[in-house]
């Protein structure tokens, strides 16, 4: 009798600890996600009660007619590739130098980290100022031609600008991931190789880098998913322009839903995009997990 009573009491306690989270998460993420699955098969403007089921029409339109979607997806992929490589290479270089014994290390680490704690909207805005007003002033002072280029006004340069700003903003964070990884690598391996006559480059590529793969996996995972989801920086820096040359997929989805008021179609787009993100990150994690070695 007592045991049965206790069991129910345990269950009640368990529920009181767990139920709030489950309810909150269901409401804010999982139910909306399931709703997306349904709405992607409908025509709906987001406001009216009028929701029409239209089968696969949204998906057919997306794959056969929607040039903006394709264009923004290509931009997102190009941006992501350059951004991921640029950020991680620079972050790794900084991390390697900033794990050497050096008095100013902590200050330098903090310096590179600072942009990461500023909101992306503000970052976009600061750089808008740099690319327009500050560059004009610098051109007047130096007469160097590249200060006079239209950094946000021509498609190719706008692409470069978005990349530069994005790397500048996040490199400190990835640098810290690599620093944490580098500090965990025992020194004796490197020293032994040094005594055996391996030079600094050989030591880095043959010893340090293979042992650092777990950090690389994490950093790549984060930078892939963050790059594919780029939104805020573009929103303030270029607003997708000039033309639609820097419109990312997330911004395209945002426009479709909140500017064009095509909610049904926007959910269809976002679902396809999610599936692509999941496939890419899955492949990446699998690939790098298989490369991990132990010291």
């Amino acid at each position: 009798m007592n045991v049965v009573k206790n069991k129910w009491k345990d269950r009640a306690v368990f529920l009181s600890f767990v139920a709030p989270v489950i309810i909150l998460i269901l409401i804010t993420a999982e139910i909306p996600f399931l709703m997306s699955l349904y709405y992607s098969f409908t025509k709906w403007n987001g406001i009216s009660k009028n929701i029409t089921f239209i089968g696969f029409e949204n998906f057919i339109e997306l794959f056969t007619q929607d040039k903006d979607a394709l264009k923004s997806f290509l931009f997102t992929i190009q941006f992501s590739i350059v951004n991921i490589i640029g950020t991680n290479v620079l972050a790794l270089i900084l991390a390697v130098f900033l794990t050497k014994k050096f008095k100013l290390n902590n200050m330098l680490r903090a310096a590179f980290f600072v942009p990461y704690i500023v909101s992306l909207v503000i970052i976009g805005f600061i750089w808008k100022f740099i690319f327009s007003s500050a560059f004009t002033s610098m051109f007047n002072a130096t007469h160097w031609d590249f200060f006079n280029w239209s950094w946000l006004g021509t498609p190719n340069l706008a692409f470069v600008s978005v990349i530069l700003v994005s790397i500048w903003q996040s490199v400190g964070f990835y640098m810290m991931i690599y620093i944490t990884g580098l500090q965990a690598i025992p020194n004796d391996l490197n020293e032994a190789a040094g005594i055996d006559g391996a030079n600094a480059f050989q030591r880095f590529f043959k010893i340090t880098l293979p042992l650092l793969i777990p950090s690389v996996t994490v950093a790549l995972f984060m930078s892939i998913s963050n790059s594919l989801k780029i939104f805020d920086i573009i929103f303030t820096l270029t607003f997708g322009g000039p033309g639609k040359s820097t419109t990312s997929t997330t911004m395209d989805i945002y426009n479709e839903a909140f500017v064009n008021n095509r909610f049904g179609y926007a959910t269809a787009k976002s679902l396809v995009f999610v599936i692509i993100i999941l496939i890419i990150t899955f492949i990446q994690v699998k690939f790098f997990k298989s490369k991990e070695v132990e010291a």
């Binding site: 709030p20 989270v21 489950i22 993420a29 996600f33 997306s36 130098f97 909101s119 002033s137 989805i253």
Partner: protein, 275 residues
């Protein structure tokens, strides 16, 4: 170490310091220009202000209604983070300690959203939030942050609890301690390292978040980020005012960062590594 080695090291250090200065130069430009009058900023952005002007700050402070927005953003961030920590740690702890199939399933349910990009359900979340009357006010937005912040919190705390020895709880249990007292007075203090990670990750996210308030508050300028965005639109060419808004909005997180630098970097990185 040879002389050449020493010289190389010095060279690397000098290069790093110069690079860091160039890296931070945009912030420097922003700051010096908030002390210039409009006429001066138009003609020269790069040099120091000829004479320090403070009127930008008073003007932006008043026209943005900074104290109210600061209070809004502060309360929103605080209430959201407190909720995330409370609900997340209770559930993370209990799910970690209960070894049943139901518990494993609920854990999966709780962390599954970590795999879902926000954009995939943002549109329908807006609709659901509207139906539940959670939009257009800060308390509704707070509840949405609870739900969106909990998966990561549950995940981190669930992992951490595994490293807490069971003996603590067993002793307390034998002494007749209730499960709630046990949790709040014994477990919670032990979990402080992971909770500080959760707090830092969420403070940074919620304070700086733009997209969610943008769609949930329907164009009202209720948080600093939203107001700043609106402000930039209004004062597009008056850089002296717009940049002052940048400084006022960014200063709180920067100060928070400077005072808690070590914890923040460790917290954010360990959150990422475990996530």
């Amino acid at each position: 170490m040879t002389l050449a080695d020493k010289r190389n090291r010095l060279l690397i250090q000098v290069v790093l310091v110069l690079f860091a200065l160039a890296f931070l130069y945009p912030f420097f430009l922003v700051i010096i220009n908030t002390f210039k009058a409009y006429a001066e900023i138009v003609t020269d952005v790069v040099s120091f202000p000829k004479q320090l002007v403070f009127s930008n700050y008073t003007q932006v402070w008043n026209s943005m209604n900074y104290p109210k927005l600061f209070a809004n953003t502060f309360v929103l961030t605080l209430a959201s983070v407190v909720g995330i920590v409370l609900f997340g740690s209770m559930a993370g702890y209990k799910l970690s300690r209960t070894k049943t199939k139901t518990s494993a399933f609920l854990f999966f349910l709780a962390i599954a959203p970590m795999m879902l990009p926000f954009q995939s359900f943002m549109v329908t979340l807006t609709k659901l939030a509207k139906d539940l009357h959670l939009i257009n006010h800060l308390s509704g937005l707070t509840m949405i942050y609870w739900g969106l912040g909990c998966p990561m919190a549950v995940f981190l705390i669930h992992g951490f609890v595994k490293s807490i020895p069971m003996e603590l709880e067993e002793c307390a249990y034998l002494d007749g301690c209730s499960p709630y007292r046990l949790f709040f007075s014994i477990i919670l203090p032990v979990m402080m390292p992971v909770i500080s990670t959760v707090i830092i990750l969420n403070v940074m996210w919620i304070w700086n978040d733009f997209l969610l308030p943008l769609i949930m508050l329907n164009g009202q300028e209720a948080t600093l980020q939203l107001a700043a965005y609106k402000f930039f639109g209004q004062y597009k060419s008056e850089w002296n005012l717009a940049l002052t808004a940048v400084v006022l909005v960014t200063l709180p997180p920067i100060l928070f960062f400077l005072f808690m630098q070590r914890y923040i970097i460790e917290g954010m990185v360990s959150g990422a590594v475990k996530g």
